[in-house]
């Protein structure tokens, strides 16, 4: 058995005068939940479409279980796709939709019926088999689309923004269900979304796509806490990003001059390199820096406060002449109001040095 279930090697897709996907390498382990995350137009859907066999790459190869499937048609791939608009057959009942793939595979009628019912049951749709598609709610249609895809027992399930059209509450619920489904079936999932919160809550690994390339790849916590690039840092939620310049270096640390003072962090860079440093809002703490592994960021003045239940999101100004903007996430019990002044500090080890 191959180590990787699904593998893309140097896959590109060009349309007349425009590169949608540029030499993407990607390895997906068997039973992994991979999320392709990126802004709209980043090429993530094109990558999924190539995985499903609907789009043929201009260059590069694609392997499933070690077999080259670059030119294989969708019908002959062990993949099944759940489309963004669900693409249900409007003239068929729910049961006919779900058993369509089995009918095409010439599965005998009793067996087909049984497997379709099992798929419906898995998706919590027992007893809805006789319904017409137009009688269903958006959430139910989504489940039918999933049931139809899993009924053919694919090895790889491809999901193209499947939760995009659902309202917030059902979305949350479906995210949990998708993870549960994936763990139960043990099937490899590749899920496309532009919602970073959704990606973080469901993914084993996230491939962050930007302008047709993989910007960052790894587990959600790593990408959130230690993003590889400036784009990754800004795309994955709120952040404080300060520009700075390397003013000193030693074997394993660099000294960086920023608008809020100098700091030393692990890393190695040439003197004079301009860099960015990043801190998540919750990593900035109120108080004075008293230990050697923290550093002070001076005094900031609160500009506005939004109470969000689990925390208070504050915008503040600091640095020389109050020209640097900070985003803080204070605990809910810490009451602050605009124009309050606070001393802030952060852990050296929380700082992320971004050079790209």
């Amino acid at each position: 058995m191959n180590k990787y279930h699904l593998e893309l090697r140097g896959v590109s897709k060009e349309y007349a005068g425009f590169v949608a996907v540029e030499s993407v390498d990607l390895k997906v382990a068997r039973g992994e939940f991979l999320v392709l995350l990126g802004p709209s137009g980043s090429g993530k859907t094109t990558i999924l479409s190539m995985m499903g066999g609907f789009t043929v790459p201009t260059t590069g190869h694609m392997y499933i279980d070690g077999h080259d499937v670059t030119e294989t048609t969708p019908a002959h791939r062990p993949t099944a796709t759940v489309f963004q608009d669900y693409a249900l057959f409007p003239h068929m009942s729910v049961l006919q939709n779900v058993s369509f793939g089995l009918t095409m595979r010439k599965v005998s009628k009793p067996l087909r019926h049984q497997r379709a019912e099992t798929a419906l049951e898995t998706m919590g749709l027992s007893g809805l088999g006789d319904r017409e598609i137009h009688q269903l709610s958006g959430g139910q249609r989504q489940r039918v689309a999933l049931a139809r895809a899993i009924a053919v027992e694919p090895e790889v399930l491809l999901l193209d923004e499947p939760l995009g059209a659902l309202d917030q509450k059902i979305r949350r619920q479906m995210q949990v269900e998708l993870v549960r489904l994936q763990k139960t079936l043990g099937v490899t999932f590749v899920h496309v979304t532009h919602d970073q919160e959704e990606a973080m809550s469901i993914a084993d690994n996230i491939a962050l796509i930007n302008k047709g390339r993989i910007e960052d790849y790894g587990p959600p916590d790593r990408i959130y806490l230690r993003p590889a690039t400036l784009f990754a840092a800004t795309f994955m939620g709120d952040s404080n990003i300060f520009s700075g310049e390397v003013v000193g270096n030693q074997a394993d640390w660099v000294e960086i001059k920023t608008q809020t003072g100098n700091l030393r962090i692990a890393g190695s860079q040439e003197i004079g390199t301009s860099v960015h440093i990043m801190l998540r809002p919750e990593q900035i703490k109120v108080g004075s820096s008293e230990s050697s592994d923290t550093f002070s960021m001076g005094v900031v003045r609160i500009v506005d406060v939004t109470f969000q239940g689990t925390h208070r999101l504050c915008r503040a100004l600091g640095g020389a002449d109050e020209t640097v903007e900070f985003l803080l996430r204070l605990p809910p019990e810490h009451a602050v109001s605009p124009s309050d002044c606070l001393s802030i500090y952060a852990l050296m080890s929380d700082v992320v040095l971004l050079t790209r």
């Binding site: 609907f54 489309f83 057959f89 095409m104 053919v152």
Partner: protein
């Protein structure tokens, strides 16, 4: 029903427009029931004698059958070809798509007389004699752009995804067409068929230019008119009109049923 001063002019105007549009037809239908030799006032009371005479008119009945054959045949062929063109164009988007679409639809604006004369010359060149078959070809030429336009308007991205989903689940070309596309497109296909069959049924100029011995209803009505005005012409015309309205009504019903979903 409360009618106030504001809606009154609107209603009067509507009635005036309806009278303007429908009075010729109403007069035609009315005098098909004339009890007398001439379809002119005064109206001498209802009688079915001219309908009876019409049913006995062998040449007219032959023309009726011919018209039905041409309408059904050209309707089916136009719908099928229009569907294929629409399907092909919708599936293969390129920078020529809109130009091809324009080319396919622009014959809608060309006069039937010009198409008829053109067909007369072309069919003569390639050796197809004037016949019902020739009329059928003519009607396909006229109606194909319309069928294309109706069917093409119903192809969207969502249908592409539905087709992809079917292929993903293992359906081949045959299954995609018969189990998925055709059933979903059925209302549009039926509407296209009803409209093109109606237009063929009503069509005079091309049928007149391309017929010799076997003629269609509009052509024979024209011949009867030349022989003289009788209520029998009204009766035949009434029949043509009634069938046209039924077909158009069906087409509208199919289009509306599509929107309802």
């Amino acid at each position: 029903m409360a009618m106030n001063l504001r809606t009154m002019p609107t209603v009067v105007y509507l009635l005036a427009v309806l009278v303007f549009i429908y009075s010729p037809v109403v007069v035609l239908v009315l005098f098909s029931f004339q009890d007398g030799l001439l379809p002119v006032p005064p109206f001498n009371g209802p009688s079915l004698q001219w309908y009876q005479k019409m049913w006995g008119n062998e040449r007219l009945m032959d023309a009726l059958i011919n018209s039905v054959l041409v309408a059904l045949g050209s309707g089916i062929v136009s719908t099928f070809l229009g569907f294929l063109a629409a399907y092909g164009l919708a599936r293969n988007q390129s920078r020529f798509t809109s130009s091809i679409r324009f080319l396919l639809m622009s014959p809608l604006t060309v006069s039937y007389l010009i198409i008829g004369v053109g067909l007369l010359i072309t069919l003569n060149l390639i050796g197809i004699p004037k016949s019902l078959f020739a009329i059928g070809i003519g009607h396909v030429v006229i109606n194909l752009p319309l069928c294309f336009a109706i069917v093409f308007s119903q192809f969207g991205d969502h249908l592409r995804n539905i087709e992809w989903a079917a292929r993903d689940l293992g359906a081949g070309d045959f299954e995609v067409f018969f189990l998925v596309i055709a059933p979903i497109m059925r209302p549009a296909l039926l509407a296209a068929f009803c409209l093109s069959a109606t237009l063929s049924w009503d069509e005079f100029i091309v049928a007149f230019l391309l017929s010799r011995f076997e003629v269609t209803l509009p052509v024979i009505i024209f011949e009867m008119l030349r022989a003289g005005l009788t209520p029998e012409v009204n009766a035949a015309s009434t029949m043509v009109f009634a069938i046209s309205m039924t077909m158009v009504g069906l087409a509208a019903a199919f289009i509306i049923s599509r929107r309802g979903k």
